[in-house]
Amino acid sequence: MTQLKRRDRQEIGHQMAGLGAEATAMTTLTLDDVVIGNEAHHPRRRRMSAITTERLVRTFDGVSAVDGLDLDIRQGEIYGFLGPNGAGKSTTVRVLCTLLAPTAGRATVAGYDVATEPGQVRLRIGVALQEAALDPRQTGEELLRLQGRLYGLSRREIEQRLGELTELVDIGDALRRPISTYSGGMRRRLDLAAALVHNPEILFLDEPTTGLDPMSRARVWEEVRRLNAELGVTIFLTTQYLEEADELADRVGILNAGRLVAEGTPVDLKHNVGNDVIVVRVDGDPGVALASLADVAGVQAVDASGCEVVVTATNGASTIGPVAVALANGGIAVRDLTLRTPTLDDVFLELTGTHIRPDESIDEEIEEVTQ
């Protein structure tokens, strides 16, 4: 057996969860050996972890973009790094990819320290940054060939990889056209192919679908799944799209203002919020609604954000009626009332008191200042 499907791994992992931490760790090692099945040529490799950070800090002019981050990402895992713009996701990626040095703390990638062994790290990672980093004057083929040469591949190896990746890029004869003529989706796919030319062990995808149309986004998702399932590539994926993290990630880390505020499987994180969510959009001050709903039976928690009141409940179907009554009794004008299962945004809301918004740009501002 060379590969296990992701759901098989998860299932076995869940079955082993009851055996205690030590047994789980041993089991995971065995699974990774089967699933990943490579890298015996890296004697220094810590078998368990693909990426670790210990109290990682990165500041710009005294302002913390990443603030005491602890991560432990296993080989073969898809790790979703979720947070709003400015949370520190891109800064974290740039530190892990050796473009930035940590201000404090430590980070290892593929078993190598990013600060002291950046060359070893670079040989083992592939990176697709937030903005497709492509030279518009080159053709797609020239870019991929040069990428191969810079990773020390022979001409024959480059030909082989081009053959394998051409289908992934899937832009036909356009590969021989200047990149300046490519659409946004074509650029993203070429960027992904460039990150894969040298067959990396770990792939960093920094908001890989930002700005893509739904069709292109779905294709990127499909390729990410395949890279992980078929090749066992560890994938560190940053995103501000909740559904992306939900769909792709084995585990999700939620980052806010440079700090990891929650981590777990999407299912577990949502489960922690509660079984059901009732969303009430009100006219006027939602703070008044908070007071009216606090004592309603079955309500676990109430949060307000903008004109929305988010009520978590153990049984939404039986609680939604009393919630509506309580709001009416409180004289609160309700625009609409929705019952749904929790999302990662609810997790974020519960942890931070705000929704994930795409309009916060602390990270970008910090980087602008330093430039």
């Binding site: 099945g37 930035l100 980093a133 990773y151 591949l153 082989q160 289908e167």
Partner: protein, 276 residues
């Protein structure tokens, strides 16, 4: 939440590959970067056509304007051979891929290069190797025009090669300023203005008449101007034959400019690569 999974008609063959990346040699890195820079030239002809045009234009116009005057004033003087060195310097000075490097910084491709194991110095040196090749190529039409105008190289065919090589070395030494500005500012407009640095050097010297014809103060300034000695070395090949003193002075002048420009350039590279 459910995502729409699109199954493409063709699926990439992502079989587990035995290919493993490795650090390439330094020369391999340099040549890879140089190759990319050279492949970009045919798509960026605006970077090379104007300098050649300017050089050819002034070569012809200056001969038409000043040949009779200078040759009548100075006995046995060959103004066309004299002017060819000036034309060559006009053509090759400021030729560099520094504007392309700025674009790399702007569009993020520079970061992509930094994410690879390529040696950082090779990124810069690769561009400079390409610059030398381009400078050599740019001298060809000017030299051909010179031959067409009847210019004879006293140093013979080997002298032509040394003439081209000296011009290319000067071009490289001056290009360091462009790279320094590119890496320091990341501003294409600032890089394009680097050529303006050359103007005082070009006019405060013996570009149009021999030093013996310069007035006192200008001759003093010219004696401190490295371009004077580069022109002297180039002209010795066309007008006098193998004059080792002039050639040595030309090389020394190029070396002095190169030391300054490369110090600035590599300092700017260090600053750009600073990860803290």
């Amino acid at each position: 939440m459910t995502a729409t999974v699109v199954t493409t008609s063709r699926r990439a063959d992502l079989r587990r590959s035995t290919i493993r990346p490795r650090q390439a040699g330094f020369a391999h890195d340099v040549m890879s970067i140089a190759g990319r820079a050279l492949r970009a030239i045919p798509r960026d002809m605006t970077a090379v056509i104007p300098p050649v045009f300017i050089a050819l234009f002034f070569f012809v116009v200056n001969i038409g304007t000043l040949q009779r005057l200078t040759e009548r004033s100075i006995g046995g003087f060959d103004f066309k051979a004299f002017m060819m060195a000036t034309a060559i310097l006009l053509g090759v000075t400021g030729i560099s891929r520094a504007p392309a490097l700025v674009l790399d910084v702007e569009n993020g491709y520079f970061d992509r290069l930094l994410l690879t194991p390529v040696r950082r110095l090779a990124i810069l040196l690769g561009h400079m190797v390409a610059d030398v090749a381009v400078a050599c190529a740019l001298t060809v039409p000017i030299v051909i025009l010179g031959f067409a105008l009847g210019i004879h190289f006293e140093a013979g065919p080997l002298g032509v090669l040394v003439f081209v090589l000296l011009a290319a070395l000067w071009s490289l030494a001056f290009a360091g300023f462009g790279y320094a500005i590119a890496l320091k500012t990341g501003n294409p407009a600032a890089v394009n203005s680097a050529f303006l640095l050359f103007f005082p050097f070009l006019f405060l010297t013996s570009s149009y008449v021999p030093r013996s014809q310069l007035t006192g103060w200008l001759d003093t300034v010219a004696s401190w101007n490295p371009v004077t000695y580069v022109l002297g070395g180039l002209r010795s090949l066309t007008m006098q034959g193998w004059q080792w003193t002039e050639l040595g002075q030309a090389l020394a002048a190029i070396a002095v400019v190169a030391v300054v420009s490369m110090a600035l350039c590599f300092g700017a590279l260090r600053g750009r690569l600073k990860r803290t």
